[in-house]
């Protein structure tokens, strides 16, 4: 049933109680009564849950029995249920775009405290919709085919798990990692809570799968530099940075490393956080995937010192190049390699770009970077790791084994001056590290905590178990770390804290201080946000579309989130979220098409003067200039309905479906008109 021309407008209006979410602050009956008096309104009802089956059924019955040709629902955010009610409108036999939603929950009942005023606001908002909806036109949802390939950005445990899940189901995955090897933070850990299984034992088989999977194209040492297009059809440019080793020719034998003119490793090793040393040519770590060496042009003798302005390095040819000799016929070393930009087309994207740990230089009272025996938890992971710089022997920078160790929780977390949030994993990894210290040494271990937070399956049990192993648990935030004035020679430190359970100030001498640093958004997250057109929370984590209804989706269709880029979480949760992101991507891909909101803009060809004002403004490059007609043209498939060109067209010759001037002005008139007293 479509509205014929000149057929009188017949509006059905429904106001939802949302249980008490709306009804407690808005007099829904008064709203329904008021709207019943407005022009064109035929039915005006209130109901406890409009989104429920009976609620939707009510709309459909009214459309049929009352011959409605417009529907307005005042309820929650359109983000939540616009789709639901458009569906109900369509099921009743109307074009779904003869529907308009009024948000009286997020915009009204949830944000006001005066019931009378909130009710009046609901009336004004409802009237805006009632005045707008007669101008609605029937629109058609277009179906656009979806490209089945997937881009996954970041190859930590979340990216790896999502990639394997998608690839095993036959999808082609392009996995892009910034570092020379995949593995992320998890590859640096020794053991994992709460099961205490070795991180690498879990991770390395998955890394190897990624490296050899026929459906996964793995691009390490690469970064996404450009993203165009839209869900189903993203055009992504990936910059492959030069590692000066030809990936296809390198066998991972490491003879180049062995034969480098530097006989001893001399340069700080990033994977071991500078605690170990490497040569200019090196393997990132033993189990690195891909198992391909990399040359650091900053220190390799065959390069001139310093970057060129374009970021490249100039070959000096000053080295004897023993590595090239060692590589021999494999010919895998190429000092002239340049960054290469590759363009790929994918239908969906999973962001798994991870986190960074808090930089404890920002809490100078803990002495990190000043006293050599102050470590971050991640550094301790490397020290205690069997494949770390000390091969698992817990010794400090001075080569001595610590006798007493203090672990300071919540460094940079839950603090007005640094980060307000709880990083969720620190209590548990601190307990794990305490356990590992006890396992490796005879040291006495002190855990200084604010609150012991161990939620999650088996986590409290883990806490109880390791707490009985003989560590000291002190409830108190550490105020200060300073050198022991009585023992300046050994580098011993005093940890000062108030034990809030006994109300005593403690000054505990220790050999080693471990800072349990929190998790933070990566510094490049803001750039990525712009690049992929995502939203961020105020802390800088990528924002999910809805915390409960769409926890791995983003506000950009076709882009999903996995792992810590969305917020701090532990490994099980990261993996679970990666699986969920993969499933969401599947459900899009396997449907085969994406439905395109018809709220697109179009140029009135007769009226366009060809002034070109709109052309540079389109964020989706959907507008072009037709040199023959001398007018602008919008590619509807690329238009995302942002409205930028509509607002900027100086002669009003671009129109946007669902946001036509008359619709918007009627809405404004409606919301501003005086209400009955």
């Amino acid at each position: 049933m479509e509205t014929r021309k000149n057929e009188p407008v017949r509006i059905g209006f429904y106001v939802c109680h949302c249980g008490v979410n709306i009804a407690h602050m808005v007099d829904v009956e008064a709203v329904a009564k008021y709207v019943a008096t407005l022009p064109n309104v035929v039915v005006s009802r209130n109901y406890k849950y409009m989104c429920s089956d009976p609620g939707q059924e009510m709309i459909q019955t009214d459309i049929r029995e009352q011959r409605l040709n417009r529907v307005v629902v005042a309820a929650c955010s359109p983000l939540l249920h616009e789709h639901t009610f458009r569906g109900a409108t369509e099921a009743g036999g109307l074009n779904p775009f003869y529907f308009q939603m009024v948000n009286i929950r997020e915009h009204d009942s949830w944000v006001h405290t005066d019931r009378l005023e909130a009710t009046r606001k609901a009336m004004a908002l409802a009237r805006a919709a009632i005045q707008r909806v007669p101008h609605h036109k029937p629109l058609e949802v277009k179906k656009v085919p979806i490209n089945p390939d997937v881009l996954i950005v970041g190859a930590g445990i979340a990216g790896i798990h999502a990639a394997i899940t998608m690839a095993n189901a036959g999808k082609k995955v392009c996995l892009v990692e910034k570092e020379p090897s995949i593995g992320g933070h998890m590859a640096m850990f020794d053991k994992t809570f709460p099961t205490l299984d070795c991180a690498m034992c879990v991770l390395s088989p998955k890394m190897a799968t990624v490296g050899s999977h026929p459906n996964i194209t793995l691009w390490t040492y690469s970064e996404v530099v450009k993203v165009d297009g839209y869900v189903g059809n993203f055009k992504v440019t990936v910059r492959r940075k030069p590692r000066y080793i030809i990936e296809d020719l390198c066998t991972g034998c490491q003879e180049c490393v062995a034969n480098c003119v530097y006989k001893e490793p001399k340069f700080p090793d990033a994977f071991n956080l500078g605690l170990g040393k490497r040569k200019p040519v090196y393997m990132p770590f033993a189990q690195a995937i891909p198992s391909i060496a990399i040359i650091d042009p900053e220190v390799c003798l065959n390069f001139k010192r310093g970057k060129n302005p374009d970021g490249s390095y100039t070959v000096s040819d000053k080295c004897k190049k023993l590595c090239v000799v060692a590589c021999g016929d494999r010919k895998a070393i190429d000092f002239t390699q340049k960054a290469v930009d590759k363009e790929i087309t994918v239908g969906t994207i999973i962001m798994a770009t991870g986190f960074k740990t808090f930089d404890p230089h920002r809490t100078p009272y803990y002495g990190y970077g000043v006293y050599p025996n102050v470590y971050t938890a991640l550094e301790l992971e490397r020290v205690i790791n069997a494949s770390g710089p000390t091969e698992g022997h817990l010794v400090m920078r001075n080569g001595k084994e610590p006798k007493r160790v203090a672990i300071v929780h919540c460094v940079g977390s839950r603090d007005e001056n640094t980060n307000r949030w709880c990083s969720r994993v620190c209590c548990l990894y601190s307990l794990k590290l305490a356990h590992l210290i006890l396992e490796h040494t005879d040291a006495e271990v002190y855990n200084f905590y604010i609150d012991m937070r161990t939620p999650g399956k088996s986590m409290e049990e883990f806490y109880n178990r390791v707490a009985e192993e003989g560590m000291h648990l002190v409830r108190g935030r550490v105020a200060d770390v300073y050198p022991d004035p009585n023992d300046t020679a050994s580098g011993r430190l005093i940890v000062q804290a108030e034990d809030t359970l006994t109300n005593r100030i403690l000054k505990i001498p220790v050999d080693m201080v471990v800072l349990s640093v929190g998790l933070e958004p990566r510094p490049e997250a803001e750039d990525l946000r712009r690049l992929f057109n995502l939203s961020c929370s105020s802390e800088g984590w990528f924002l999910e579309r809805h915390p409960k209804l769409a926890p791995v989706s983003t506000f950009t269709d076709g882009i999903f989130l996995a792992g810590c880029c969305q917020g701090p979480k532990d490994i099980p949760d990261s993996v679970a979220q990666a699986g969920a992101a993969a499933a969401e991507a599947f459900s899009l891909i396997d449907k085969g098409y994406v439905e395109q909101e018809p709220n697109t803009a179009f140029v009135l060809a007769e009226e366009c003067s060809g002034c070109k004002s709109c052309i540079p403004l389109c964020p989706y490059t959907a507008i072009s200039f037709n040199e023959e007609t001398k007018k602008a043209v919008i590619n509807e498939a690329l238009c995302k309905g942002c409205g930028t060109c509509v607002a900027a067209c100086p002669s009003g010759s671009i129109v946007q479906n669902l946001f036509e001037d008359q619709e918007i002005f009627s809405e404004i008139d409606g919301v501003l008109a005086p209400l009955p007293q």
């Binding site: 009135l604 003067s609 002034c611 540079p616 403004l617 100086p650 002669s651 010759s653 001037d661």
Partner: protein
């Protein structure tokens, strides 16, 4: 779209039996519009031949009571130029509306409020005080101001009062057609008069000009780049202008993209940018807002400081973007001024 008034499919109504009566009237205007009628040159004779001019204060002597005596609707059309600024103008507009079948707003002031509309940035008191007391050329020690009623030598001359704001004609009476321009070009005027006499009138409320922006007929159109981005704005006297190149491409504000065409790009052909006198297209409610939205969207800097620096090049935004259209725009007047 071609001239909206050329609608050959409209069949002419019954032929005119008598010489139709036409009135010209002026309100708050500079007299330029009157000039245009004279600018019709020999065509004016053709017009005079076909019509009976019953009122034309600039050229002929008629009295108020002559008009008042006419039967209602006895004038075919009144072409009224000038904005409505005084009680007398308002009264005349209402009287002529009553006596005329068609009320035609002639020229930018009647159409949009025009240059006098810029006075809506100030209160009436501010204007009177400046002009009779504070103005630099004013020697008025007694601070005498014109009085609405004075007693002198036994007579009581009365003066009309200034209204609170300047209004376009259609903010006072119903208007049937608009002839745009400051002043309307002879071509547009001829087209309007011809349409009227031949009874080929476009839909009521039309502006007698093609409903497309000026760029469409601008001789410099091809020189506007697609990726314009403004680093600075200059006024025409501040730089040596390339006479072939789009003004916007040279960083000079040109109202062309948001202004109706039909003037054949007269100013641009004379080496000056469009200042917007033909008003907005039928699809735009606020010409100034639209051109600002368009120009500002295309500024090169994206940070607040950079944006402010570029906008320094437009010292008088109201005078630039609302030169003719302030009174009839969404802004309309200084905040809190009454609407009459």
């Amino acid at each position: 779209m071609p001239l909206a008034l050329i609608t050959p499919n409209l069949k002419p109504l019954k032929p005119l039996m008598f010489k139709p009566k036409v009135a010209f009237y002026w309100c708050a205007s500079c007299g330029g519009c009157e000039e245009t009628v004279v600018d019709l040159a020999e065509d004016i004779l053709g017009v005079v031949e076909k019509v009976d001019i019953v009122l034309w204060p600039v050229a002929m002597d008629f009295k108020y009571k002559d008009v008042e005596a006419m039967p209602d609707k006895s004038i075919l059309a009144t072409l009224l130029n000038g904005a409505i600024r005084s009680t007398e103008q308002e009264e005349m507009a209402r009287l002529l509306r009553r006596k005329s079948q068609y009320m035609i707003a002639y020229g930018a002031c009647a159409h949009l409020g025009g240059i006098p509309g810029l006075a809506n940035q100030f209160t009436r008191e501010h204007i009177l005080k400046f002009n009779y007391e504070d103005g630099p050329a004013m020697a008025n020690e007694k601070k005498t101001r014109p009085q609405l009623v004075t007693e002198e030598n036994g007579r009581t001359p009365r003066l009309p009062a200034l209204t609170n704001v300047v209004r376009s004609l259609d903010q006072v009476v119903e208007v049937d057609y608009y002839v745009p321009g400051c002043p309307p070009t002879p071509k547009i005027t001829r087209a309007a008069v011809t349409a009227l006499l031949e009874n080929r009138l476009p839909p009521k409320g039309s502006v007698i000009a093609p409903d497309i922006a000026l760029c469409d007929e601008c001789p410099r159109k091809a020189t506007k780049p697609a990726n314009i981005s403004f680093r600075e704005f200059k006024r025409p006297h501040q730089a040596l202008m390339d006479p072939q190149k789009c003004f916007l491409a040279q960083g000079v504000v040109c109202m062309g993209p948001s202004t109706l065409s039909g003037c054949e790009a007269a100013c641009i052909s004379g080496g000056m940018p469009c200042t917007g006198c033909f008003g907005p297209t039928s699809r735009v409610r606020d010409q100034g807002l639209k051109i600002m939205s368009s120009l500002c969207s295309n500024l090169e800097p994206k940070d607040e400081q950079g944006i402010s620096a570029v906008l320094q090049g437009i010292p008088d935004p109201i005078g630039t973007f609302y030169r003719y259209g302030l009174a009839r725009s969404l802004l309309r007047r200084k905040v809190n001024l009454p609407t009459d």
